[in-house]
Symmetry: C2
Subunit: 404 residues, 2 copies
């Protein structure tokens, strides 16, 4: 009667497939996100072609699924912001920052250089470099928990560096988005873009830091259900819009910043619980599967050699860049290599960046799919390699809080 029954079935299939894929991956010792992406690829045009099945063919249903996936991105990045622990990050200090910087610069430059060598355009090549930049906090953390190393010195540094890496990756994305050839008007240079980003961050921090805690208190005392969560969602969505409307800053940057603001709030835990539920139980599975639905392995065509090259480059440059950075920052060699390995895994952020590039028409379907497969390869490699370098290590924080 409501005309939305097909949507309900499609969402049920998507969420079930996502969680099934995640479970299967975990059963064979891989991070769940690997299985979720793989399941998306199986459901997508590469194998099953779910979208073209008659029952799911209505355009309105596709648009709704795409919108839910985008809301998943926004909520996920808000959650990533929420989980940003500025204090812990500051304690690990130098090694994390230098390691993160090394682990961003090398992949971006190498990604750009390799792409140019393979004949890709200037802007597309920078975009590919930026996709290679961002380590995934969640995949790194999940692997460390499985190894009981979340609270080791290396573990703490990796988590802290992953946060720095996130911010650096978002800054790089903001820069590359700001210098995008837009459809109308003059094309601003990279410096204008960076100033814009800095202005956005500065203004938001100034306004947000003063007001968020007070309004959050108020929202919590409102005589409505889930007032605090609703307030968080409103701020996340509003900042996402503001970031984009401000001109050139990605929407996810906005919701990430909103999350960071709330990470300083005394209500952080309550928000985290709720955003974790709505994200991982409902919207993020749609996002993960939707990535696979958009990735057509057939579209790679003769891009396989570039794909393999870029995956190897993604692994080696992150390992070397982050490892050498950590060594310079003060780690011993073994610690530094453990750190470098822990930073290899890419995940949500890389997929989000690639998704933005695809939506903006900056990268084509072939490169997008290569980026997704690159994420799969790094995601697959990280736990295996981490297990190798942490072999024989004690368990300093066996009771580490599992983000499950």
């Amino acid at each position: 009667m409501t005309g939305a029954a097909d949507l309900f079935l499609l969402l049920a299939v998507i969420i079930a497939a996502s969680k099934t894929g995640g479970s299967l991956a975990a059963r064979i010792g891989q991070p769940a996100v690997f299985g979720e992406l793989a399941m998306g690829i199986i459901l997508g045009p590469t194998v099953l072609g779910l979208q073209s099945w008659p029952v799911f063919a209505a355009p309105a249903i596709h648009e709704t699924v795409a919108a839910l996936a985008q809301l998943g991105m926004i909520f996920l990045m808000f959650l990533a912001g929420l989980e940003t622990d500025l204090a812990a990050m500051l304690r690990v200090g130098l090694v994390a920052v230098v390691g993160a910087v090394g682990g961003v610069i090398l992949p971006v430059l190498a990604g750009y250089w390799v792409s140019r060598t393979f004949g890709y355009g200037l802007y597309e090549s920078w975009f590919i470099g930026v996709v290679l930049a961002a380590t995934s906090v969640s995949i790194t953390a999940q692997t460390l928990i499985e190894l009981g190393q979340l609270r080791s010195l290396e573990g703490t540094a990796i988590l802290a560096a992953a946060v720095v890496d996130d911010v650096l990756g978002l800054l790089a994305l903001a820069a590359v988005v700001a210098m995008a050839p837009s459809g109308s008007g003059a094309e601003p240079g990279i410096w204008v873009g960076l100033v814009r980003v800095a202005a956005f961050f500065g203004a938001v921090a100034l306004v947000g830091w003063v007001g968020v805690e007070r309004v959050a208190h108020l929202a919590l005392r409102l005589p409505v259900r889930e007032g605090l969560f609703a307030f968080g969602a409103v701020v996340a969505l509003f900042f996402a819009w503001l970031a984009e409307a401000w001109g050139g800053v990605a929407a996810i940057t906005g919701s990430y910043v909103a999350g960071v603001l709330f990470s300083q709030s005394s209500h952080r835990h309550q928000l985290e619980e709720r955003f974790h539920a709505v994200s991982y139980g409902f919207l993020v599975p749609v996002f993960f599967i939707s990535v696979g639905l958009d990735a057509d392995a057939r579209a790679i065509g003769d891009g396989w050699i570039f794909g393999i090259t870029i995956a190897v480059v993604a692994i080696l440059t992150k390992f070397l860049g982050a490892g050498l950075g950590a060594k310079i920052g003060g780690f011993q060699w073994l610690q530094a290599w453990r750190f470098g390995i822990g930073m290899i895994s890419r995940g949500e952020v890389a997929l989000i960046v690639a998704n933005i590039g695809l939506a903006a028409g900056v990268i084509g379907a072939s490169v997008f799919t290569i980026m997704v497969l690159m994420t799969l390869v790094t995601t697959l490699a990280t736990p295996v390699l981490l297990r190798l370098v942490f072999r024989g290590a004690g368990i300093p924080g066996a009771s580490g809080r599992a983000p499950v």
Copy 2:
């Protein structure tokens, strides 16, 4: 860049408006849902005409908001199912059942009769009657909590009766939907519809009761994030689809039944927490505002006299039907009238039913708006009247759990 920034802003505005409306209503002693609906009417074509503003004019955005509202319905009804306490309902027993039956039969018959008298068609009149049938559990409970009467004898009976009422209302809806003049094929009679409904309930109960608890255990132990919540969402969505695909049973009936199955599960509380968050913090505000956006007070035209009549009929027949039923079931007169007053408030279910009728083209925009205003009037009247009849009553359960 993502092209969805306008959607983010629109959702931020909708959620903020919904919670602001709810808070304002609560401040003047009214249930939050009243304010949320009123805010929707203000944002809608009656006053501000939000939908036609340039920034929100893209059809894809409208479709997504409508889809989110429908997901809100599905989740809300799953939650209502989850909160169904079969044991408590059975304890209060006869009085609740007889009271609920009386409180359903009288409004349905009176609604039908009044509508026919005003010249409405046979099917539309039955639909109007069914809209008048369902008491809102949440509004009743919230009012009782404010009065500290949630755990009084009358309070327990009202809550139990509200559940029976929900089931009766859904059965009535299923019957009226099943006898709907469909676009193609033969029109099945009401008895075929009822058999279908019974078959759906029976089959689902048989399959679900056996399997749900086991699979829920499994989902909770899966190495994925929010496995249980995702499983609940999958079942809610799948049952919603199944109910509709089965032929003639409303999608919300399916998700309600799914919720009832899980209400018997040991994981009920965990599910309740998460569905409460995603529903009240995100999707249900979109649903409430969306109801207002669809209601155009200008569309009532010369239906004002019918509107006022139907609102008075809705209040009187529920009060008399439920009150007399409770007296027959064993209550004293004062208890019976308190019970009758407590059953007056309509809410989500009435709006959902009206929404289904509007989407199916069974009731027009004018009748839909009258139904929304009827809900507003009953919602407004209930707390005021309850406060009157409970004046001087002791507070037997002052520590009643607040569903906030």
